[in-house]
Amino acid sequence: MDNTLSHKQHAQIQAHIQAHQHVPGGLMPLLHAIQDDIGYVPETVYPEIAKALALSVAEVHGVVSFYHHFRTHPIGKHVLQICRAESCQSMGSANLEADLKAKLGVDYHQTTADGNVTLLPVYCLGNCGCSPAVMLDDEVYGRMSAEKVADLITEVCHG
């Protein structure tokens, strides 16, 4: 996956930096805005962020690396998160997890060979009334089985 930024992406990042420069506690919303657009937070823009927000590069790095949500490298076109927390465990999420890893041929934090799906663990999706739960991009799905998730992937990612 390509790690160099296009002109357009760089302009987007510039605009976000400008918009958040004077927002109190603006670093978190800025990082979100960048990741929403680009898909990740490129380490190459840390110096620009640091300068605009009067921080050190080390501080920017410290914040990005502290939070599970932020990533510093491009990932697959779609993100599949499997809930690993207790309620989902009580409804067999461990089997779901093992079956899906086998089906997709990846472990957590890896992307399928076709570059389509990145698999991530998550600790509760607030859908514990319908465990086991998964989230594909921004939609949550309940009472899942490996077969149902595979169908979902076909529908959403290849449809």
Binding site: P24, G25, G26, L27, M28, P29, L31, H32, L53, E59, G62, V63, F66, Y67, H68, H69, F70, A85, E86, S87, C88, Q89, S90, M91, V122, Y123, C124, L125, G126, N127, C128, G129, C130, S131, A133, M135, D138, E139, V140, Y141, G142, R143
Partner: protein, 521 residues
């Protein structure tokens, strides 16, 4: 024109409500039947979602669970005239929604409107007693508002159960040019979703509660710190805030009162510890979520060093009804020092899961069997975790404990945010204990050693216990380690991880390869 309701709540969507709604629109059009489709919140009966309701002269009639493939059949049965004999004979017909046993026995105060209204209709909100609390608050002094909250007996629903009015009073009496109201919407606890439901299904009640808090203590800026796993709540909140601003319920000179309150949603980024209030404040300030030492309390030195109210979503969303109906009305519910109601969330291996709001005092057994209908798998319920990942596991012998903060403390357990997760007899409690350590290790902020190092050591010790190596020594090590974490951790992440671990060991010693006698030693 007949009104049909299809929920837009995430859980309903997770079971296909969007496709059901589309199919209903298509089918109505194809048959030339005029309908108004309302996207309401969820009534909280998740085993029946997508739950479709039809408005009739007698009240709303429910059908569920309705899959897209059921829709044509429902139209064939003329379900749009829900009280017709044909509709009543349909297998998905459930009768009047308000008469469903699950709902009828509840005391819905905080959740009074949830599932009934269109979450983003301010007109609906106003028509269902919305903004009555604010109206009363605007005619009161800050001191009187705080007194009403204190007198209601409301305690922090985020889990620590600290009296909300006393917290507000500290902020009220802290002199400062700038104060803040921060809503803790991180809802990190597994097995809980009541915050999410309020934000998605009745967002104005949270906005109203925060506005009252701001007016009470003299704070003009509010933030909702929302977990990043809730994209639907984010959209709904932002839209509701926009509408409240337009209608003069937020911003400058609220309803002509001269009061100012601005509100903004900030997204978290997937760190469980950022639900801890001081870690949350660090994160809001744009820093790593390292836990701060207390004191100073956030009420004195909070966001950007200013006096700050930090409250859970449910605490804040309960304030409007207290100001509307009066402190006594709320305090009349409950038992002992647990006043009012608790929105309980049933999760895990249960036949019937969903939201149950009840006055404090119902027993766990009532929740698990009367509401929950027993396990989903049909096997015996063996263990129940109450209060999230830092809550204790309870065995069957403790199922008669009433839901009351003090009663739970007495049995070394926590009620927390009101999440109840059931496990059947296939659960391996040693695995659950290991998982508790693993979770703590993943989420530790790293500021103190007992938690940072202790959690990783805990995983190792559990692995040895499961393998049966040096058993007595390792069990002793497990107890010592838990003791260190309990007493030496800076915050409740490290400090409460021993709850799930030791309760599993003490109540289910056989899963740790011990006889009851050995475990007691």
């Amino acid at each position: 024109m007949v009104k049909i309701y299809v929920p837009i709540d995430s859980t309903a969507l997770s079971l296909g409500a969007e496709r059901t709604a589309k199919k209903i629109m298509q089918e109505a059009q194809a048959r030339g039947i005029e309908i108004t489709l309302v996207r309401n919140g969820s009534r909280g009966l998740f085993w029946l979602e997508p739950l479709v309701e039809v408005e009739t002269a007698q009240g709303r009639v429910a059908f569920g669970p309705v899959q897209p493939s059921d829709v044509a059949g429902l139209f064939d049965a003329e379900f749009t005239q829900a009280q017709a004999d044909q509709a009543k004979a349909h297998p998905l017909y459930l009768g009047l929604t308000d008469e469903l046993a699950w709902l009828k026995k509840q005391q819905r105060l905080t959740f009074a409107r949830v599932g009934i209204t269109d979450p983003l209709s301010l007109e609906d909100y106003l028509a269902h007693d919305g903004y009555q609390g604010l109206k009363n608050a605007l005619a009161m002094s800050g001191t009187d508002i705080v007194k009403a909250v204190t007198d209601s007996g409301l305690r922090g629903r985020g889990g620590a159960a600290f009296p909300t009015g006393i917290k507000w009073n500290t902020v009220l009496n802290a002199p400062a040019e700038q104060k803040y109201v921060v809503c803790n919407a991180d809802e990190g606890d597994s097995g809980t979703y009541s915050d999410r439901m309020i934000m998605e299904d009745d967002p104005f009640v949270l906005i109203e509660g925060m506005t009252i808090a701001g007016i009470a203590v003299g704070a003009t800026q509010g933030y909702i710190y929302l977990r990043s796993e809730y994209p639907h709540a984010l959209k709904t909140l932002n839209e509701a805030i926009r509408k409240a601003n337009l209608a003069g319920y937020l911003g400058d000179n609220i309803q002509g009162s001269g009061h100012t309150f601005h509100l903004e949603v900030r997204r978290a980024a997937g760190a469980y510890v950022c639900g801890e209030e001081t870690s949350l404040l660090e994160s809001l300030e744009g820093k790593r979520g390292l836990v701060r030492f207390k004191p100073p309390l956030p009420a004195i030195e909070g966001l950007f060093g200013k006096p700050t109210i930090v409250n859970n979503v449910i605490s804040l969303a309960t304030v409007p009804i207290i100001l509307d109906k009066g402190a006594q009305y709320y305090a009349d519910y409950g038992m002992g020092r647990s006043r009012g109601t608790l929105p309980i969330q049933l999760a895990g291996n249960l036949k019937q899961t969903g939201l149950v709001e009840l006055a404090f005092g119902a027993t766990l057994r009532e929740l698990l069997y009367d509401y929950g209908g027993g396990s989903a798998s049909g096997r015996p319920i063996r263990a129940v975790q109450v209060g999230g990942p830092l809550g204790a596991y309870l065995p069957e012998s403790q199922f008669d404990t009433p839901l009351d903060y003090e009663a739970f403390t007495k049995i070394w357990a926590v009620l927390g945010h009101g999440g109840i997760v059931a496990f059947d007899d296939s659960v391996d409690m040693a695995k659950m204990a290991r998982y508790a350590f693993e979770f703590c290790a993943v989420e530790s902020c790293g500021k103190c050693t007992p938690c940072r190092i202790g959690s990783t050591r805990g995983v190792e010790v559990m692995d040895k216990i499961v393998l049966g190596k040096n058993h007595p020594q390792n069990v002793q090590l497990l107890r010592d380690l838990s003791d260190t974490m309990l007493n030496g951790s800076l915050c409740a992440l490290g400090g409460m991880t021993p709850y799930p671990v030791l309760s599993a060991l003490n109540h289910f010693p056989e899963d740790f390869g011990l006889s009851n006698k050995e475990a007691a030693a």
